[in-house]
């Protein structure tokens, strides 16, 4: 109903044409986006949880007091600054994980959206050493989707609302798919247009800022693949085996895609096909990047960015697949069993293409041919279109096959061994189904729950004039006004952050733009690997001496290796890679004391007392990447970042004097 009102308003302003193309999203794909984005947030938090000691606690590389004393960004704010010890940090991160799981499954979605936004921005801002474009993109996506109804479809909230809307009590009610009516799928909001613009802006500025020679001569991808810090094994394989012209071609191809995608995304005609093309190109571009490099959440977030733009036509495509006749099943269940009825009610809601038909075990005349009369008394029975009868755990598997993505939940029942386990569990539950139903208060043996056996609610008619409509109108108005303010702020910030604009127009950022942008890290500068791809590469090497006199690099667990050449890449994950890359800069000189403290205590965290480092030098070891046609780059002189104790037999010595012939 609120969407109807929003549609009318938007029509008056921009007309149906623009509204349908740029202001409308499909609630089903918003739900799908929520699941994907929530999974990304959960994964992101999980990897931070695993490395909490190094990057988020006071035992690590950046204690909270120093992050606040010498902030790496203006107006940095993070709730994680309030937590010092590893245990405290892990506790709060566990809470954040819970929030992200809530977000993914869509439980109290609006609250979860707000909490997830605060959580992810806090995680990012706590340690800007490891922030990259992917983190900023995730912040922006969490922010821009705050006002969208991500929980309207495919969420626990939607499921519960639907279960409340109609309490079916019979197979006939279960088979009546007209009620409860699914929520309106059309979501009309200015925020949808803002999302379109955001995606287009990312590609546009990333393209126009790539003005360096490396991009012009097509060698950019070559240099990109030479980054041993970030390259994956596949990337290494490709750089060794792909002919250079193909690499050049992919460089031009990437640039071409970045140039063309904004126009495709905003193209006003053939929207369905334009967005499908954009999705294809986007997945190709970012999927390729994700397969060949470790850039954190950037590639995955970019691919997810397309999901909200899919529409009813795309849903129909899914419908063609999931709604095939071959997926039809007849489910015969025990009508006197409360938990059976509850499961059927849930199945009805998980079955948008109406592939399941429910039959009560009290109506043998309605059974499909081939079903033994006594069988449905003992077990749930599923009959497939070929007339094959399935019972027990096989029935559950068949139901999973009929439901969209249901096989992901019950596919394990097809695995020998697990299948027997599933059967045993099924039999135990089936045997005690009456007791379980009573325990859960669901009614059993045809008796309803005491006091709660109300008749089915009558359908609620939609009214144009009611307090609900008035409330929805007011909420929509306030929301759209807020989005309009956000749009203005985003435009100002984009103009400020991108050289392509700010060298032409100077934009003054008012405080109301600066404060939220800094606090929540909603930056809009897009210039990844621009204007030039990186031509050099390196990493941190610790030349350490343990208490028992061994040489050890605690970050590799091996002898310190000063050779910048590697045939396989260094295998760094994104955090370590970014920390390595930044700690070498002079601006971070004051932050190196914490690396020293960490290394002094390293053995307490991961090693044995014998691993205690009594002296160490920390070096930046790098090289100039090899030009096309060459395998090895030109090593640079190692740069000492910090020292502790004395390291008399430094392994860096031969690399510091290469011309003296000491380098083998």
């Amino acid at each position: 109903m609120d969407n109807e009102h929003a549609k009318v308003r938007a029509s008056n302003i921009v007309g149906d044409f623009v509204q349908a193309r740029y202001f409308t999203a499909d609630a089903r794909f918003l739900g799908a986006f929520r699941i994907g984005f929530g999974a990304l947030l959960t994964w992101d938090c999980g990897r931070r949880f695993a490395e909490a000691r190094e990057y988020y606690s006071n035992e690590g590389f950046l204690p909270n007091h120093f992050s606040l004393f010498r902030p790496m960004g203006d107006g940095v704010f993070s709730f994680l600054h309030a937590f010092s010890s590893l245990a405290e940090v892990r506790c709060v991160m566990a809470l954040m994980l819970l929030v992200f799981v809530m977000y993914t499954v869509g439980y109290r979605t609006k609250l979860a959206q707000v909490l997830a936004f605060v959580s992810i921005t806090s995680l990012d801002a706590r340690d800007l050493f490891v922030e990259n474009g992917g983190d900023v993109l995730v912040n922006l996506m969490a922010f821009f989707t705050l006002t969208l109804p991500l929980g309207r479809r495919f969420s626990v909230d939607a499921l519960l609302a639907s279960m409340r809307a109609r309490r079916e009590k019979s197979p006939e009610a279960l088979n009546d798919r007209s009620r409860p009516a699914p929520p309106d799928n059309a979501v009309v909001s200015l925020m949808v247009a803002l999302l379109f613009l955001q995606l287009a802006v990312i590609y546009f500025f990333n393209a126009v800022h790539k003005s360096g020679e490396g991009w012009k001569n097509g060698s950019a991808i070559w240099w990109f693949l030479q980054q041993d810090r970030i390259v994956t094994h596949l990337g290494v394989f490709l750089r060794e085996h792909l002919p250079y012209p193909l690499i050049r071609g992919s460089g031009y191809g990437a640039l071409g895609m970045e140039f063309s995608l904004p126009w495709i995304i905003l193209f006003p005609f053939f929207r369905t096909w334009a967005m499908r093309l954009a999705l294809l190109l986007g997945v190709g571009l970012h999927g390729g990047i994700a397969l060949t490099s470790r850039l954190g959440p950037f590639s995955y977030a970019m691919m997810l960015f397309y999901v909200p733009f899919l529409g009813a036509a795309d849903a129909a495509l899914f419908g063609r697949w999931f709604g095939r006749e071959a997926r039809r099943r007849t489910v015969i269940f025990d009508v006197d069993c409360g938990i059976c009825l509850l499961i059927c009610r849930v199945l009805k809601r998980l079955d948008p293409w109406e592939r399941l038909t429910f039959v009560g075990n009290d109506r043998p005349e309605a059974f499909p041919p081939g079903v033994e009369p006594g069988l449905p008394e003992r077990t749930v029975v599923v009959v497939d279109p070929a007339g094959k009868v399935h019972a027990e755990e096989r029935a559950a598997l068949e139901i999973g096959r009929a439901l969209p993505f249901g096989i992901l939940l019950v596919g394990w029942l097809a695995v020998p061994g697990l299948r027997e386990l599933g059967r045993a569990v099924y039999r135990a539950v089936a045997k005690n189904r009456i007791a379980i139903s009573s325990f859960l208060g669901l009614g059993a043996c045809g008796l309803g729950r005491p006091g709660g056996d109300a008749p089915e609610d009558a359908p609620r008619d939609e009214r144009p004039v009611s307090w609900r409509a008035a409330k929805a109108n007011l909420t929509n108005l306030a929301r759209e006004a807020l989005v309009a303010v956000v749009l203005v702020g985003a435009v100002i910030q984009t103009a400020n952050d991108n050289q392509f604009v700010n060298r032409r127009v100077r934009v003054h950022r008012p405080d109301w733009v600066v404060a939220p942008v800094n606090t929540f890290r909603l930056l809009e500068g897009w210039g990844m690997f621009a204007p030039e791809p990186p031509y050099d590469d390196g990493h941190v090497v610790v030349d350490g001496r343990t208490k028992d006199g061994r040489k050890l690099d605690p970050f590799t667990g091996k002898l310190p290796d000063f050779d910048p050449y590697t045939a396989t890449g260094w295998g760094h994950e994104q955090f370590w890679c970014d920390y390595n890359n930044r700690i070498r800069f002079d601006w971070h000189q004051p932050n190196r004391q914490h690396l020293r403290e960490y290394l002094k205590h390293w053995h307490e965290y991961y090693g044995t007392p014998a691993d205690e480092l009594v002296g160490f030098d920390v070096w930046w070891v790098g090289d100039k990447s090899p030009p096309p046609g060459k395998e090895r780059g030109e090593p640079e002189l190692p740069q000492k970042l910090l020292s502790f104790g004395s390291v008399p037999d430094s392994l860096a010595e031969p690399w510091l004097h290469p011309k003296a012939g000491r380098l083998k």
Partner: protein, 723 residues
Amino acid sequence: MTAPDAPDAPEPAAAGEPAPETPAVPTPEAAPGTAEAEQPAEPSPEMPAETKPAAAPKRARQPFGAFLRETYGVADPRSLGLFRIALATLLFVDVLRRWPDIGAHYANTGWLTNHFMLFCPMSDHLFSLYLACSTPGEVKTLMLFHLAVCVLLAFGWHTRVMQVLAAVLLVSINSRNIMLENGGWVVLTLLTVWSMFLPLGKRFSIDALRASFRARRETTVEALNDRSAPARDTTPVASFAVAALILQWIVIYYFNVVHKTGHEWRDGTAVYYFFQQDRMVTLLGGWLRDYIPVAGYKVMTYSALAMESMIALLLAAPFRTSFFRMVAWGLCCALHLSIDAVVQLGPFSWAMVTMFWALIPREAWDEWGPKLAARWPERELCCDAQSGFWLAFCRVVKRFDVLERVHFRAVTPALEEEAAEPEQGEAEKEPARPGERLARAVGETLVVRDPARKKVFRGLRALLRLGDAVPFGAVLTFPARLPLLGTAIERRLERASAQSGEADAYFELEGLPGSAEVPPAEPAPVSLFLGRVVAVAREGAVLLVMVSCASQVLIENRAVPKLLKVEHRPEWMASIVIYPRLFQGWSMFAPSPPSDDGRVVVDGVTKDGRHLDPLTGREPSFDVQPKGGFRMNQIWGDFHRRIGEQRFEGYLDGVRDMLRNYHQITHRPEDELVSFTAYFVSEHIPPPGGTRAPAARRTILSWTSDTAPSKQPQRPTRGRFHR
């Protein structure tokens, strides 16, 4: 959970069905017919497994446990509801009073930046969400959220969540700057943390209101007049947390008495010294101290000691607890409110008094409730029983009418045609009878009758008179007294009566009148089971905190014999006590009251050559005995007292930076200081009648602009690296 006032005997359980959870078996302690017998302690989920009402034979075997539970472990939900409102109000005021001092004490513009507090924490196990906030703007944002939580707690909206949030935020704001912490903060934290385990939202809350609406959906006037359902919850709440609160207050008073061993307490002059504390004394205290004779001080000293002792004894008394606890409350009010009138101790006095709201006995409610109700006016609300809107209105009124002074009467409104003027030529009709007039009025607006005075009120006046019959009704109907809003409400009332069908449609209430009432579903066994699990876990948590606090009592109090002193305790126990600042050392003004007093005076020189004390905004004054005291609040009082102490020397760099930036805080460039010296000025307080020695002056900090001013706050030269 609700329970009827007089539960029927349980029906025998059918075969295969779970047995009833609450056997209404009278206990040996509570004879049939007494209030306790009528209202057995709630079975679940609010009761731990250990304290569940058991079957009679079992109770007979454990009379002492049951006795302890009844005596020290039970509270009335109505009392807890009032306690929640009082506590939330106190928490709100406690946060609000800090608002003016954000810049000086809670943000990086002040003397204690968040990064320095984290770098060199004043205590182990320090946790504060406020430490994440750097600028005054950030602190204010979090504080606004904090205030909102207090308001929502007072209203009882999602009470459990708000209780936890209020406790976390209170600990956070206290831990942000623990140099300012005093006994009042600790007591308030204890009160909030202990009560976090109690169901404070069972009565007088939005949660209770919503639960009541869910419990019964009245569809007729008869149902509205049936006050037996939904029953208002009067089931006593049994929890270790109640015992913890009582025990905590006994501990506070006991140790405060036994630690007062100084000669000033023995010779009766302690209160005299108390009055001489210019940092703390209020305007009234400053005035009174000039007039109170020594004998008066002695009376006050001894009576304070006697009252503290009495309160501890009365709270511990195992018999006539209802009476003794109310006497203790009276003594507590007399003691603490008089203290608060003459000195500022932060929230201490108010927190001490607030706890007793939770101890109002059910006998008081049972006895005073009907008496109060009898004094309240009766009203008859005449409504159109066929209108969903007016039925819903009556449902709301019924929930607020806790004294049951409003009677609902169905009146069929007269249609407009019936009330129309006679046409010309038509014979004049007889004057309308009272019933007809009432019917016509109901068709036009809200109608309320006063049966005692036999008067009928209409429209806005009816609403106001209806408010008279409801406790705090004047507050609820206050918007109707406002000029414009009142008119709007009156028009809405008229419209809802004249076009009730439209109102019903707008609020989707057409189906309400006369529809069948659906009894609320009985809780499923799984809900009861989960409730029990949660209750056991909660009571286990209370016990854990109690044990940890007990260890802290033994550690911190001098009066505890050495034999009982805890030498070593597990780290987790220390964490439970120190993270939320649940300290247990109780020796306020003990063993002796402070015999000296002082404050920090900054002699600053501004750019234009004036002398200025940035802490007062005036010319520096070294007077240590001003008439009426220093006139500073508790926060500033504790700052002045402690910042000069050696243990806080490491934090003086922050004070220097704050004084240097004084002109930026006040936005007065002309006040920029080019040099300053901060002194701790103190005096020794002579005995009564003695002569005052000259004030002593100690330099604690000095700075001149020539000594390498730095734009960034300096790192400390001392302090430890917090790992």
